[in-house]
Symmetry: C2
Subunit: 341 residues, 2 copies
């Protein structure tokens, strides 16, 4: 029975409704429990829906908006002029309780500013953080945050990121996640003041299973379940992994094409390896969550295709079912209590 | 005629003399212009030399030291207790004019602190920076700095890094290098105060060909010749690229092994691709330079093998021939003049 509602910003992302509309339709057939509210230009959306042989119904509702927040808009400006935009309507749906989660591929800064303003932060949280799962060599996932919700952070924020990331990962792992701080060396003396202060705070709490520092080359090595860093470092580092992975995959793909003239053997040999390698590309994990809010907001890659956006919607459903915001809230309360007594 | 002398810290690196001694011998046969001063335990070194059928001579001199700076030692402590260590003797050789450059695979922080103390900074430079060349998809190199000489930087330092990196790259490219700042987005509004202030300074100088921001996924895409960032971000980001590349190469290697049972065709098909991919691993470029000093100091990877250490010695010779410190000095003077008038 469809009982979980996701509000999808139909105009967000590099391709807008051309991707979001088919993704909504595909998600509805994929997740029987799902209802979708599409926010955006009604004419465009209904035209695209009917070209797919689909019509708005009780499981797919369109909320009209004729305004879009552009990717180049500053968050502060977007916040002032957000009324009636597709992104704003999608977040409003969560704030009003009409939707259980919101998904958008639009301007990240604006999504964060608007979510923070409309949904409010959880008690004890000063800044939200973007978190995403990365693939690892072992096949397990590692969650990394902050991936760019903030361009700078203090040690208190980093500590809160650790608590939030741990609470999220635990919903998947069902055991206390190993939490590490990303640093320029594994030894205690290494790093800047920010990571050293955060490490000290994490060492003193029982609420987080802190395993120390890890270096950039260990990110995909499954040595931690949650990796904490500031948003500037996290964003650059994740994109560096994605860029390197993409170059390797491209090289492999062009070799496959070049070798196809040598027959089907080469293609067959390569395809298994190719699929193996693709699973190591962090880019495949679409759907970063904005943690720390009193509601569920998922940021999809701007360049996400239909399948990737369906993944992001799936991630939203996961978090709704696991009641992630209240799990984080519980964990924060435990940490605060621990500090008091 | 051997006329360029490199002082090599024989005890530095994870493997000490077992790698440094054969590397010195190999470098001497590789570079006819090279002389080497090996600093470290005389007995161990001469024993290893004779096991290679080699003896100290006019091209290979041993300077005895029975002390080593450990990898876990804090730079401040290393500085106070450095007298007579192998690293200290190697840097002293440059300071006294007995060597043209120094190469060490030892403790990076200690190497920087000692080099700075003994060789002094160039006028106009507040902090040295670690720079290294990275491979790119096009086959060209991109120089990246700072890779971890500093755990934090201000905009002035970042600006100086840009000037130094540009001066170094120009010696290889023979044209004004494209200089970019590593950031979380390409748009002007993106980033933290540090990169924004540095971008403003670079936009106002004619001495650097500033091309704007690049993101982490563009690092190996040959969109800039010099990429500037603070040492914390640079170190983590480079290691993230290396880690991702290594995982892909390992996966490919294990596929090759698994497929060898299917015959030599698979091996033959793979070997070309494997070599192609290896050239995309930033780890292959051993020998990061410490720029900003009145002398040439090259940091080799701690885990470098003989070939990698020979590369680092080769990098030292390149810089000696190109008189890198005085090129940087000239460029800095030009920038200072430009600001005055």
């Amino acid at each position: 029975m469809p009982n979980l509602t996701v509000a999808l910003d139909a105009m967000g992302g590099d391709f807008g409704p051309r991707v979001t509309v088919p993704a909504a339709v595909q998600a509805l057939s994929h997740f029987p429990e799902l209802k979708v509210i599409l926010t955006g230009d009604q004419t465009t959306i209904t035209e695209l829906l009917s070209s797919l042989g689909y019509q708005p119904n009780t499981r797919l509702v369109v909320k009209h908006s004729d305004r879009v927040i552009s990717n180049s808009e500053k968050p502060s400006l977007a916040l002032r002029h957000s009324d009636g935009t597709s992104m704003s309507l999608a977040i409003d749906a969560v704030a009003k309780g009409e939707a259980d989660a919101c998904v958008s591929g639009g301007n990240t800064g604006a999504l964060m500013a608007l979510s923070r303003f409309k949904l409010k932060l959880l008690p004890g949280i000063e800044r939200p953080a973007l978190i995403s799962a990365l693939p690892t060599v072992s096949g397990a996932q590692t969650w990394m945050l902050d991936l760019g919700a903030n361009v700078s952070s203090d040690a208190d924020s980093l500590f809160q990121f650790a608590v939030m990331g741990s609470a999220l990962a635990e919903q998947y792992l069902q055991c206390p996640p190993r939490v590490a701080i990303l640093n320029i060396g594994a030894e205690e003396i290494k790093g800047n003041d920010l990571v050293k202060r955060c490490a000290e705070m994490l060492s003193q709490t029982n609420s987080v299973n802190f395993v120390g520092y890890i270096e950039g080359n260990q990110l995909l090595a499954d040595v931690a379940d949650v990796v904490v860093c500031d948003g500037f470092v996290g964003n650059i580092c994740l994109k560096a992994c994605e860029g390197t992975a993409q170059i390797f995959i491209d090289k492999l793909r062009s070799s496959m094409i070049a070798m196809s003239i040598k027959g089907w053997i080469a293609r067959k040999l390569f395809s298994g390896l190719f699929n193996d390698l693709k699973t190591l590309n962090p880019d495949q994990y679409n759907g970063a969550s904005l943690l720390g809010l009193r509601g569920i907001v998922i940021k999809s890659h701007g360049s996400a295709d239909v399948d990737a956006l369906v993944n992001a919607i799936g991630e939203a459903l996961h978090e709704v079912k696991r009641q992630v915001p209240s799990r984080i809230s519980d964990r924060l309360e435990a940490v605060l209590l621990e500090r008091h007594y």
